[in-house]
Assembly symmetry: C2
Homo-oligomer: 567 residues x 2
């Protein structure tokens, strides 16, 4: 491709909003352009990279027998109602009505569509297992778009769905898909960690996120020192440190409280006891039905909303209670009781069971309760794992948890019977002639986010450094200086030779630009091999080649150059 | 691909609604499946065909220097408002609001998006011309979906947009694109005719439709006998036959009318004159502003709504007037006057100018007017070409027009300055330093409709006959009968050999099906080469190969087979 004819506009400046390296570089180098916040054009060179990522993923998906197809973008809303996802997806789901009044969801994920397709056919046990996938535009009505391609409202996702006879068969595919994903990211040049994650509105019981470590990522996770455990903060399990473990249960007392004791810090000072001795209530409201939820933990713990929602079976439905909700209960912030608020549902962390002689629980303006014990003085509707892990906590097998942060580029979900039980007729005929629901899994990779992760990983102060696996071009010929006929011939000759050797070349044949301008564009764009053709290199009958990201350029013959590039 | 593992479900039955061959065959052969009316799944084998069509188009687009990219699916509605298309596209445009209240159009065509992209950059005359294109999902809120892939509500379209310095430069590209389109369809095996067409809500002054002749197509067009002229019925020009041409203008008379004379047929009988002697009024209403339009023609002509809208500059806005509209004017059907209805806008056909001594014009219950002459007795706000051609009419150079019907698979549009004048900042800096609007064109191909046209063209009573250019597979191996280890080895061996020779093979390795079932599936699916492996063929050490659509099978060696397929 001749750069003089290519719709590739680099930019020296960038917006103050583009603090994130990948967002800044992809825009400056002319790969993407914003339409409105969270919606991007992929310009010709950006589209090429995206397509190369797509091809590589397709190659690996096909190699495990998955079959590419395509489902409509507009999903009949009735299907989403069948699985109750019109409520669990909350506001992220975009909806549209056609002029006949039919309602549709703009596809954000396609479980219902694939199940609805498959249930239109008679499936036999002989057909199973199989996996179907698509690359298609997904829509998410994100409240905040951020960081270029990191969190967008419209993006291409590879989503696949596997259908199985039973859990055992599914597990084989699930492991195979995890290896496939690791291989895909490895071929892309990305090191990923697979962490246990929350299934959220996708449903099912367990899932994994594939994360590329990065300071600017939105996924926070924990890895145990022994490497045996890795989990997203949403689900990370950890050992509790109950207060006064094994101590005898003392008599409940209601005591006078000095007026200055208001906050948790005041309490710590006043009682001289560690944080885990104090009861703490966090109040939520269910946005679907208005229910008030009081989460009870000890002072050393933070409530994990995701875990709490899962314990309640209220995925995506909890919001923090507001002052009005508290005053409606006759209380205010800091004075919520561990018992006695009528109509509220009390959900406690498992730590309460073994904690002894706690402080708090029923704090009034002038009194506080001490030696509060779960079971005797109060109970909760459910005791569960509702707390957030933190760095330094121990994993269940006693290894210290460290915090990590990164970009989620893919995920794999066990769906089990979640969809097949909710959607009528989603079954296969087994060997014994009985119709049974199929067991399912699903697997996603965000293409744009993968592209952003690549740029986050491969760049320097001058620009992007594309790995060869996905670089938009293999080589970049730079024709320099006062372009004489000889120089032009040499450049055109090399351009032809490389292309006839199936090297994909960007040829900077632009007139009237300085060496500095051309070099800085080349560095910004980040193609692996930069080949300079100038009066100087031509005199020696050689080409100057420099690998992007390396410091030294080398003079090589045409044959050596070809060998280098094709290696 | 092993058929036993392939998600490919053929069907012997079909719905009564699928009267259209391509709809029936694509569904029965397992290429597509309906989600809801007008929205289709492309199953793995259907997706493959679609992708092959896409690749072939991409190849030709790239060869003329067009550059592939992608724009967001959701277009900010403000852009469509800038060009006034929120009103001209009428109900076909689907709209969606996000949770922050921003409004979007679901892309049905992307002129505004491409112009908005390009105007974000400083474009110089040196950058021009260029052409950008995308393959992307398009949405049309069609009132009636029909015929499988022929008229759908969601489909993949290749749309491209070219930017030019001036009309002269555009015209070169326009001609090049017309040849490119002819070449694309030729490579696909489709003979197309390029006919002049209406620009509709796309805007601009002229355009061409590429039509594959077909009885079931929705595009009706006229071709002149001398082959010099081809135009869609919406725009086809023809010579008028004015009544009493050259006759002297006679005195206007109001005469008694027998009660039985009501319809045009009654009039013909009563007066004994040909149809072109009678005045005829057709009443429309502008759905945007409520204006009443009275189109005046002669009895031999039908009003062409598209032409009328173009004459009025009211694209997509006219609807037939209803009884209520007529009674509001104090009249009723059959008694509309050629003059005198207050508030109505009169638009006449050019035939009126040369017609003499017409009948009608001001018909009352008991009287009629005769010797009515345009200019003396009535005038219209505009006289224009507002009538529909019909078979037997003459083209402007006197050659007889014949009717044709077909499937519109592509179109090319001159846009001129239509968008660049409406959209601020859509300009380039010319050599003289002055900012000037770019001159534009756009070019579309519907992928699904092309696929349907291919099936309409290539089929027989047994199923589809894919041309090799887009067949989902090159060859279909059918393993027959009682599958012995020897037979299986032979089939597996051939499967491996073909694949290692880069032949894309579907291998019918399914167990427990009769020869009849396998053959009928193979015929339905329509892969070019069918290779049968059975005890009989194996004994002779040869393979039985049959070309789909031919009658005879041949016994060939492996080498001969390879040669045949690779030819």
């Amino acid at each position: 491709m001749r750069q003089s004819k290519y719709f590739l506009k680099t930019s020296k400046t960038f917006s103050e909003e583009d603090k994130i390296t990948s967002a800044r570089l992809l825009k400056q180098a002319g790969f993407i352009q914003e339409s409105v916040a969270g919606r991007y054009y992929f310009l010709p060179i950006g589209h090429k990279v995206q397509q190369r990522i797509v091809s590589l993923i397709k190659d690996e998906m096909d190699s495990v027998g998955a079959q590419e197809m395509i489902v409509p973008t507009l999903h009949p809303l009735e299907l989403w109602k069948e699985t109750n996802r019109t409520s669990t997806t909350g506001f992220e789901l975009m909806r549209v009505k056609d002029r006949r009044g039919s309602e549709f969801a703009l596809g954000g994920t396609a479980e219902e569509m694939f199940v609805d397709l498959v249930r239109k056919y008679q499936i036999s046990y002989k057909d199973l297992p199989f996996q179907l996938y698509q690359f298609s535009n997904k829509f998410r009505d994100e409240l905040r778009a951020r960081g270029g391609l990191l969190r967008v409202r419209e993006f291409i996702m590879k989503d696949s769905y596997s259908f199985h006879r039973d859990e055992e068969d599914f597990k084989k595919t699930y492991e195979e898909m995890k290896s496939t994903y690791s291989r895909i990211f490895e071929r892309l040049g990305l090191k990923t960690i697979a962490v246990e994650a929350d299934n959220g509105y996708i449903g099912g019981e367990y899932s994994h996120e594939f994360i590329v470590e990065s300071e600017i990522g939105e996924s926070r996770y924990f890895v145990s020192d022994d490497g045996e455990y890795a989990a997203h903060e949403d689900v990370a399990k950890f050992k509790r440190s109950p207060a006064n473990l094994g101590e005898e249960v003392k008599e409940l007392e209601i005591i006078e409280q000095p007026e200055w004791v208001q906050t948790m810090d005041d309490n710590l000072k006043h009682y001289g006891k560690p944080k885990n001795n104090f009861l703490k209530n966090v109040v939520y409201k269910n946005s679907n039905n208005g229910e008030i939820i009081i989460a009870v933990v000890t002072g050393d713990l933070e409530v994990n909303k995701t875990k709490l929602e899962n314990v309640l079976g209220a995925v995506g439905q909890l919001v923090p209670a507001e002052d009005g909700d508290l005053s409606a209960m006759g209380t205010k912030s800091g004075y919520v009781h561990c018992w006695g608020h009528k109509g509220a549902r009390y959900i406690g962390d498992i730590v309460l069971k073994d904690s002894r002689n706690l402080i708090g629980g029923q704090k009034e303006e002038k009194t506080d309760s001490v030696n509060v014990n779960y079971g005797r003085d109060f109970t909760c509707e459910i005791l569960g794992d509702i707390s957030m892990a933190k760095p330094g906590d121990l994993s269940e097998n006693g290894s210290e948890l460290k915090e990590g942060r990164g970009i989620e580029v893919g995920n794999t979900f066990q769906l089990g019977f979640h969809y097949t039980k909710l959607m009528k007729g989603a079954s296969y005929r087994d060997e014994d002639g009985v119709e049974k629901p199929y067991y399912m899994g699903c697997y996603g990779i965000g293409i744009g986010r993968t592209m952003a992760a690549l740029v986050e990983r491969f760049n320097d102060e001058k620009g992007i450094i594309w790995p060869r696996s996905v670089s938009p071009f293999d080589a970049h010929i730079i024709l320099l200086g006062n372009i004489t006929p000889d120089l032009k011939n040499a450049a055109e000759g090399l351009y032809t030779t490389l292309r006839s050797n199936k090297v994909d070349v960007l040829f900077d044949d632009r007139d009237g630009l300085s060496a500095g301008e051309k070099f800085s564009d080349a560095d910004l764009i980040g193609i692996p091999f930069r080949i300079v053709i100038s009066a100087k290199t031509l005199a020696g009958g050689k080409f100057e080649v420099k690998i992007r990201g390396e410091k030294e350029a080398n003079l090589v013959t045409e044959d050596e150059l070809l060998e280098l590039i094709k290696k």
